[in-house]
Amino acid sequence: MSETLTGAQMTVRLLERQGIRIVTGYPGGAILPIYDALGQSTVIRHVLARHEQGAGFIAQGMARVSGLPAVCLASSGPGATNLLTAIADAKLDSIPLVAITGQVPRAMIGTDAFQEVDTYGLTIPITKHNFLVTSAEELLEVIPRAFQIAASGRPGPVLIDIPKDVQTQAIEISHWPEPGGALPAPATITELTEQAAALINSAARPLLYLGGGVIHSGASAAAVELAEKSSLPTVMTLMALGAMPVDHPLSMGMLGMHGARYTNLALDECDLLIAIGARFDDRATGKVAQFCPNAKIIHIDIDPAELDKIKTAFIGIQSDVQDALNKLLPAVKQNSRKNWVDRIQTLKNQFPMQLPDADNPRSHFGLIRTVAACLDDSAIITTDVGQHQMWVAQAYPLRRPRQWLTSGGLGTMGFGVPAAIGAAIAEPERTVVCFTGDGSILMNIQELVTAAEENVNVKIILMNNASLGLVHQQQTLFYGERLFASQFKAMPDFIKIAQGCGIQAIDLDQASNPCATLMEAISRQGPCLIHASIDATQKVYPMVPPGAANRDMIGA
């Protein structure tokens, strides 16, 4: 039986058929036909953000906790430009996102019409792929394909720009396409995994280097199994935290710019680096020429363009990480590597991660540890970007894949609050904690209203030093202590802002027993802002100075 539907109705129906149950966005003139059709859907719930960038990050929060493509909507012109940062962020962290934007009617494209911008052109370099739809008919092909592209291989954002007259164009439909899903990855070449296994078996000082691809592939358990079978000390990138529990005996935590000193020193000594789903980012490697100078490299990544990009691999394997690990595991021999594991332990004892003042809940590390003590591993942790982000990466006991949502590649201030809202909407049974700073939170402060409206179970820990901490730190260390534009002279009253937005707020500075106050605030259902002042002179240590080799760390 055929039916006559508009492009807008088709869009909504195709989203329903994709299994989409929640979308987020912000309406405007050029996307009103889709909003009108969305309002008639009995299947899809719409979460209204308060800024399109907020919508983009709410969708990212949903995608990051589920691993499935999430959808955000915006109108043309400023609606689309406001989405760009969230899309670029998704590109750099390989997050599956489908962004749908309204566009001016086809006949007006190119005339500088009201709220017209070249959304297609703007999003070419920040999407995995993008579409400008030119007929209602095309939607039947484009929408499933957008989901397929977003989810297949290395995930990423896809944008669909739909002119208003395509949304209102009615056509007869007798047959619906299958929903688009991830295509199976090409099979791993067994000879390569066999060579890799032989190399691992014969190595004296191998290290495992896990990246975000391990999380995306759902391969954390297999990666830990490999580490255990062959006794491989393991480092993780910022994006991979949680892949191996941080208190696992083989875990050396995060590597690179703010990793522990022993971790970076161990990398200097390794003779084999097994990089899995990692891309040798400059924050991880430091000066590339001096990164793992004595090591052969096995590099496993689903994206062939990552192999040999920064470091030439001795064995490069283009493969889904889970599939490669499945083939690698039986070929890797049980090995206790007593000498090497002992050596790592010696380095760890000599140059441990130092978390000074971790028992004092009024210090930055103490606050993070106290929050962790109030929660179990089911909690989701999001961060904004800055000193607080690195301290949480260093000190929070992350133990579960998809427990940790942070803007790694793009490093977007303003990520934390909307991503936390998205995470809480996608998994309402969990407690979501967002660590943020006084700089970052202001970049998407309007989403506190969304948090109130949705009554999400999000606890925002605002670590307030009245400064842009990382800028302050770099100016202090590398710019002759010339502090400029990094200290806020006027500070808003964050407690009043939160209350004014309709969410609860407490000030730990005023609490006589901060641990008890924190526990009470975290256990209470619903959104809450928890304000805590911290010391602006504290640094993120240890630190690899920009451009230096990882062994040349300063501080702690």
Binding site: Y120, G121, I124, K128, H129, P304, A305, D308
Partner: protein, 104 residues
Amino acid sequence: MNAINRQEEQAIARSIIEIDVNNHPGVMSHVVGLFSRRTYNVEGILCLPVGQSGLSRIWLLVNEDQRLPQMIKQVEKLEDVITIRRHNADHTVFRDLGHFFQSS
């Protein structure tokens, strides 16, 4: 302004790249965007449809550069790119076009 960078000035050789793509609007932007973001000049472009196949073939003339292998991998990842091949500068495709490009 995107000046031609030193690496390119010092290039002694040129490469010719042949790319089969889906023939629809925007594909050229996707391909050349990978060059422009690196301020990597494209010296020559030729593009025509391939028969009635729905495909087009893009020929690019570029200066030899160590970044080229990585860029070719990135071009290969584009959804609308079917195949990409690299040729030496002695390829004939641009050779007989000289008379269209004389200053008047």
